[in-house]
């Protein structure tokens, strides 16, 4: 207590330890490589913390169980990988529309389909944004190290509680299985956010009324508050209402709350951007190799900077737009064939040239590969 401690931890283990610190007391899941350690460790750790662990019959049911537990006021999580993430999409949309806080971990592996279960990938980045149907609010984070995974997990619960929105943590196999030293913050240095409880008694409670913040109050089931939770469009009472006016109000509120509260979730890191001619936009594990490549390029006089997005969705548009004005070329290294590059191109809108360095063979980038990509922009051999 009171001391920072340093521990060797696996990425999946960092998710578990941080979730417990954040107050997670319910996990429902169905094991799948490379996320299985999360379920395995929580099966042991949750009961010790007074929580509940349940292995469900499949990923669909485990997503449903996590949402149900959250409705009772318990911070809840589920974890999976590609094929399971696909199955969770329907209920993920339910959580978005009914505004139930829940954290979903997707330790990405090579896809589509069964793909390569033990190989890392960043192929689910667009699915994390648009995997379920309809316009919908969602947050997705892609930490770049085991230590950052610990931090991001606590923040994921905070965002989810504060904005009543599902938060996806996108690891990849390498970070999930890799062990690194993690600096565990002191308990008093960790800030936890909780959902806003009801300000009125059960009789007057309107479960989906906007109190001016865009985020309604949330009463825990089982405490005397009775209300309807439905995946149909609904009015302030929670009961279905298909009128055009109600639908428009609800959709604009749930999307609008994300735009209004960017400060709650936006998380980016910039390095060496002041004089940069070339900017790397990075996320997830390739950022480690990119950092080494940038250092080498800098030593050789190339003016390269880095804009790293930890919270990928909603995308930090304004920040990138500012940076894009000052550079001539933007490079996006990704373990897919250019998914986030599409978003970068949209935001940059011609202010700079955008290209990608892509790896899609189930292995991670070596620093040399990203360095070679940077040098190419500078005209090859120097």
């Amino acid at each position: 207590m009171g001391e920072t401690t340093r521990r060797l931890m696996q990425g999946n283990e960092a998710i578990v330890e941080a979730a417990l610190v954040a107050g997670c007391r319910f996990f429902a899941g169905y094991p799948i490589t490379p996320s299985t350690e999360i379920a395995e460790l929580l099966a042991a750790r949750l009961p010790q913390a007074g929580g509940r662990f349940i292995q469900m019959e499949d990923e669909i049911a485990s997503m449903g169980a996590a949402i149900g537990a959250s409705l009772t006021g318990t911070k809840s999580m589920t974890a999976t990988s590609g094929p399971g993430f696909s199955l969770k999409q329907e209920n993920l949309g339910f959580a978005s529309l009914t505004e139930v806080p829940v954290v979903v971990v997707n330790v990405q592996r090579m896809g589509p389909s069964t793909g390569m279960p033990t190989a890392p990938s960043q192929g689910d980045i667009m699915q994390a944004r648009w995997g379920t149907h309809g316009d919908h609010p969602v947050v997705a984070m892609a930490p770049a190290s085991v230590g950052e995974t610990y931090e991001a997990t606590i923040k994921a619960f905070n965002i989810s509680e504060a904005l009543r929105v599902p938060v996806v943590i996108l690891l990849d196999e390498v970070i999930g299985h890799m062990r690194e030293g993690v600096e565990i913050p002191r308990a008093e240095d960790i800030q936890l956010l909780e959902r806003k409880g009801p300000s009125t008694g059960p009789a007057d409670h309107l479960p989906y009324a906007d109190d001016g913040t865009g985020v309604p109050e949330m009463a825990p089931f089982g405490t005397g508050y009775r209300y309807h939770v439905t995946g149909l469009f609904h009015d302030e009472t929670g009961f279905p209402d298909m009128s055009n006016a109600t639908a428009d109000t609800l959709m604009r509120r749930i999307m609008g709350k994300m735009e209004r509260h960017r400060d709650v979730y936006e998380w980016t890191e910039t390095t060496d951007t002041e004089d940069a001619e070339v900017l790397l936009v990075t996320y997830g594990s390739p950022a480690q190799a990119a950092r080494s490549a940038i250092r080498r390029a800098r030593r050789e006089g190339m003016k390269v900077g880095e804009f790293r997005v930890v919270t990928v969705w909603p995308f930090p548009e304004e920040r990138l737009r500012q940076l894009a004005g000052g550079v001539r070329e933007i490079i996006v290294p990704e373990m897919n064939l250019g998914q986030l590059r599409l978003e970068v191109e949209r935001v940059v809108a011609g202010r700079a040239r955008v290209s990608g360095i892509n790896r899609t063979d189930g292995d991670i980038f070596k620093p040399d590969e990203i360095y070679a990509g940077i040098r190419e922009v500078y005209g090859g051999e120097r």
Partner: protein, 187 residues
């Protein structure tokens, strides 16, 4: 300074646990940076198994081994596959009990009957990985002896600490019985 270590052999030998112990020694007890990663085969027993450990004074940029400064081979397959990915002045620690065929002229090779010692002297073949750790500590100065000793005690299954610490000390003394066939000026 950054050092890359690769521990390779067969599933069930404890290569991954040995890798975790080295990384834990560096991170927790020596306060350095380290990453440990592994290759997973579909088999948990009997297939090839490999742990990569990178230990550095600065944050590690690439968690896998590109060229090993130290390679431990506890199977013929591991030697055949990885010996070529070892630095010119690196060390190839060969378990001569399990690797019958290795290059006699290679000055990097250090050959020791690791598994034989674990089986015949210590009575537990399962501690061979920790015997290897004792040798690694003597062959390099990447991690301190005390840090590895603490990490062994912290990471091995409960009830096996004593046997493993004995294996670690035996590994350290075993260095005097190793062969370096490629070195021209032999003992």
């Amino acid at each position: 300074m950054q050092t890359q270590l690769r521990l390779a052999g067969t599933g069930g030998q404890g290569q991954i646990l040995a890798g975790i112990i080295l990384a834990d020694a560096a991170v927790t007890y020596d306060v350095k940076y380290a990453t440990q990663s592994q290759s997973y085969g579909p088999e948990s027993r009997g297939g090839a198994s490999r742990a990569d450990v990178v230990i550095s004074d600065e944050p590690v940029d690439y968690p896998k081994v590109i060229e090993a400064d130290l390679l431990l081979c506890m199977s013929q397959e591991a030697y055949d596959k990885y010996a070529k990915d070892t630095t010119e002045d690196g060390i190839i620690l060969v378990d001569s009990t399990l690797v019958p065929s290795y290059c006699n002229e290679d000055p990097r090779v250090v050959a020791c009957p690791i598994t034989g010692v674990a089986r015949d002297e210590l009575g537990r073949i399962i501690v061979a990985n920790v015997v290897a750790l004792g040798l690694i500590v003597e062959l390099t100065d990447i991690v301190s002896t005390e840090a590895v000793r603490k990490a062994v005690a912290a990471r091995v299954p409960p009830g096996t600490q004593e046997a493993n610490l004995r294996a670690f000390e035996r590994g350290r003394s075993l260095i005097n019985e190793c062969l370096t066939p490629g070195k021209t000026s032999g003992e």
